[in-house]
Symmetry: C2
Subunit: 700 residues, 2 copies
Amino acid sequence: MQWVKGLGLGLGAAALLALGIILGHFAIPQNSPSISATQDLDLEILETVMGQLDASRIRENLRELSREPHLASSSRDEALVQLLLQRWTDPASGLDSAEAFEYEVLLSFPSQEQPNSVDVVGSAGDVLYSCRRSEENLTGEQGGPDVVPPYAAYAPPGTPQAVNAAKYGVAGVLVYTDPGDINDGLSLPNETFPNSWYLPPSGVERGSYYEYFGDPLTPYLPANPSSFRLDLTNVSGFPPIPTQPIGFQDAKVLLCNLNGSLAPAAWQGALGCDYRLGPGFHPEGDFPEDSQVNVSVHNHLQLRNSSNVLGIIRGAVEPDRYVLYGNHRDSWVHGAVDPSSGTAVLLELSRILGTLLKKGTWRPRRSIMFASWGAEEFGLIGSTEFTEEFFSKLQERTVAYLNVDISVFANATLRVQGTPPVQSVIFSAAKEIRSPGPGDLSIYDNWIRYFNRSSPVYGLVPSLGSLGAGSDYAPFIHFLGISSMDIAYTYDRSKTSARIYPTYHTAFDTFDYVDKFVDPGFSSHQAVARTAGSVILRLSDSLFLPLNVSDYSDTLRSFLQAAQQDLGALLEQHSISLEPLVTAVEKFEAAAAALGRYMSTLQKGSPDPLQVRMLNDQLMLLERTFLNPRAFPEERYYSHVLWAPRTGSTATFPGLANACSRAGDTSPGSEAWAEVQRQLSIVVVALEGAAATLRPVADL
Amino acid sequence: MQWVKGLGLGLGAAALLALGIILGHFAIPQNSPSISATQDLDLEILETVMGQLDASRIRENLRELSREPHLASSSRDEALVQLLLQRWTDPASGLDSAEAFEYEVLLSFPSQEQPNSVDVVGSAGDVLYSCRRSEENLTGEQGGPDVVPPYAAYAPPGTPQAVNAAKYGVAGVLVYTDPGDINDGLSLPNETFPNSWYLPPSGVERGSYYEYFGDPLTPYLPANPSSFRLDLTNVSGFPPIPTQPIGFQDAKVLLCNLNGSLAPAAWQGALGCDYRLGPGFHPEGDFPEDSQVNVSVHNHLQLRNSSNVLGIIRGAVEPDRYVLYGNHRDSWVHGAVDPSSGTAVLLELSRILGTLLKKGTWRPRRSIMFASWGAEEFGLIGSTEFTEEFFSKLQERTVAYLNVDISVFANATLRVQGTPPVQSVIFSAAKEIRSPGPGDLSIYDNWIRYFNRSSPVYGLVPSLGSLGAGSDYAPFIHFLGISSMDIAYTYDRSKTSARIYPTYHTAFDTFDYVDKFVDPGFSSHQAVARTAGSVILRLSDSLFLPLNVSDYSDTLRSFLQAAQQDLGALLEQHSISLEPLVTAVEKFEAAAAALGRYMSTLQKGSPDPLQVRMLNDQLMLLERTFLNPRAFPEERYYSHVLWAPRTGSTATFPGLANACSRAGDTSPGSEAWAEVQRQLSIVVVALEGAAATLRPVADL
């Protein structure tokens, strides 16, 4: 017995120890799993995240987020701030920390006491027709005090009488969305929501009419309570005249009764009549010839508190490198598509990553920062104030910014806008995820069927769009020079010519709309969540940053060729040579290619963590080298010499193209031609500086 | 025999092996000694460098550098470019690589055919007196074609007649250096050079009269041949009227004969007469009353090639971190003091470090970059073009810039100008080096006797001056936001009140002048070389960057107190509160202190190289967070919100102080008062951004 007991004891101890080890490894939460400084992306973790992203959870997120209207700074918007904070501080699925950052920003609202109105009045002042002041309550969600009536934010108040005033110039503007542009021509109630995804006749697109972005009173400064604010008389960028949006139902009444000559063919639409230019109403129409249209706009400006919510997962190895992923939170009304379809995805991804974090099974190499921006609809205000407040820190440390605003416009294909260095990481992600549609295609293989281009390097690849200023990525790319991207699922253009999903910015953009028409089953939402998740993990966990700077060579070469073709002859006439630009592009290409070779060598060996960090810094900071805050003094925030707004249609260097277009036929020694030369030098210096950043770091 | 032989063989093999090891270690050049990623500053290497810096070698360098005049872009200047390249590529004592970078810049020269002249002429046009057109050839070095005649660079050509023109305003300017300001009142030939260090009566101070710095035709762009150049009519910053410098010998003749009322007491000097204001000559003086002074200036502008020479020692561990050490190469004439005393030191330090490098006994942790700038005398042109060309790369990677222009003004004490983070490394170096004077004081203990202040943190310490735009550090600190310093040995102010060393910018600034009067024995040169060498090694080799960011707290607190005392009441009258600034300073102090504690903790443990790198990035990039390229749109290159030029005498936040001074008595709602509020917000945001950079890197 004794020896058996002894053996039993021995075996028991070993078994207990083993059990303890197993328990310790798998069951006890470890908030800091041991991660080596050369640990690369863990494909099992990636697989886990891909598998766990849950369409039904995204659907539930969306239902909650879009349950009530949540206009920027409204009480429901504030409630959603709390919801985000609660999710991101959840003990089981939250992040390391989360915080709301409040700004005091200038917003614009219609008056509750005096509704904006558009009326046709007779010569005696009698009201002959009134446009709707709110949308028709078709599903029970379009009524109530929280549905902001249609208005043009930042349009000034005023009461222009358009017909009379036309003699002296435009005194007011009415805006509507034509069924030809938004509804594939359909306009009848039985053809539109809630019977289809098309915009009902009473639907009105709200929007901001402010020309710039960011808080209008605090350009280049965060809108903290103590910050300097412009006097209203010094604010530029607001529309000069009263403006009001109306539905196509009302537009039809006004437009189909107009007198005057026929509008150009391109201006005709699907209202079912000939569009005429006025002035005045047609004598045989519904209104007496001497009727007028009275527009009353009673919008007012107001300083309001609006918050960003930031949440962070601390990086285990390089906590000072940030992978940023954000979307705005505020909507015009319920905002189920815009922006809640994006926030629903954001919350599901943060839940999955937060759960892995809290369980102790994973911590990223770099920090991941989640952001819920405020007051985007008024002009990217929350994100812009954030970049103004943390300008230096973000420029020093941010690897890339991923924006998912509207995550699903439609469920045909992935659509990506981004700067060239993000192409490779998007491709890597998209190749590994199944497309939600029929068949067994990857997202990548499906994508390439809808959007593609022929790359001199890779052959046929999906084509990325470039980043304008349509969502919160704008301050990141244009003001901070951070490699950015915006992803969504979108249309099959062979099936619709709608400018955007039809209920955009109306009271009909609701949960049921998404659930029934946009993405039943939420598989496109899930596909976007997987793509975003894969991109975020690749950026946060890869040992070598998956930013392929060589892909800028492709863009630069095509910009150069476009400049040579479109501007070369004109420039030559003015003795301006593109040779320095050719040389600069060549230097960039050579430096990028050499860096790629160096990276391959490092990857084959056993690189030490500092070597990797130095190389990654080159990759991360490349985009920054294209910034020049003095390049476009008249363009607020736009400092990126490759992606500033272009006036022409040719995809080329914007400063050069714009300056050429302005110089035009002015005389050879003009200031305008000097500006062309200055812009050419600016882009040459930027490219040479970019090449210098990519060359071996101890080169002179 | 056999066993003996065997033993002998065994012993012999061991001895050979040991010998081999010893040879391998000490004799075979290893260009890359094995350096661990956590290697700290090697005090033995520091000791070696301190011991090897050789005063007589510095003297020989100076003799060679100042042998001939080397005006910017002259053939001797070009020859010195070759000399530097040769030294820095020497197989036994050179650097890893060296290269000349040529720019095409706009310089200004007097005409060889038509010398500038200043004459007194009678009413009939007869010349009554002519000022000297060149300095007296006292030592055989002041003659010859390479000695540029005295002139005011960038002053426009013209022939004003000063007396007549005075009725309508100033038409021309004559500049001279009064013996009261430069010579402690002495002016006789036997009291001046070559009999003493004082300026001889014929000596004339040359200089640039361009208001900004950098190449005048290419602001913000490197002056490469293809770069856009301003049309001359669009260049601002040149003096509007003809200007010519003269010696005090000639000034005496003009000034002591002037008529009119007595000049203010502060304008009187040591020429031995009462200074009067004119107009016209005194009836009892040397010239008829109706005589006039004719000034003829024939300066011309010319595009010339000017080179920087750059040399680099590649860092072993962090080659992408640069410690920059530079001085200009060009002089007005022989330039023994200015700038060759600095270059002589630079060459000796690069020789010592190069020798250690080539022997394989040392390689720095970070890269060290040596620079010899061109065309500094015309307005810091070479260094400015360099910062324009490599803006991004330098901002990303430069740890600090050390400037040693004139290394020895006089041999009493060290003098340092710099930003607060460099104070600690200078102090560390200065405490360990013996002062060259009598007694056994350290440079630090000697220094504190001449310049000191009471620090709330440290008690009595040597005081650092702040950086203006007097030498090539200007573009580094003001345009790039790189922590910078300028060091030299200088005067005992109880012994001289000379504005600067007396032969400054004259043909009398020669090797013999230095050898006999400024620093016989070159021990002050050696002291500066040791200080510079110690600072460079500490910056390049310390594991933790020796930049004490907490020392900015001291400066900010004193700026804040000055603002409260000097501007507080005025601001309060305009309802402008300094509270946000107080809060921002407090946040900075707290973040800097916490970072200091974190660093101490790391230092006590065994930090991994990435942790050190992340902390060092915070230290390196702090200075960058004070840059705001939009803060002072009218000040070219000045973007550092703490060190931009101040118009007032109070050491405080320059933007705020200048704006207050401009707003002055304007009405409360004026644009000028709005600018005060804007400037206040700019500095608050900069300080908050700085604090954000210092806080733990994964904090929100």
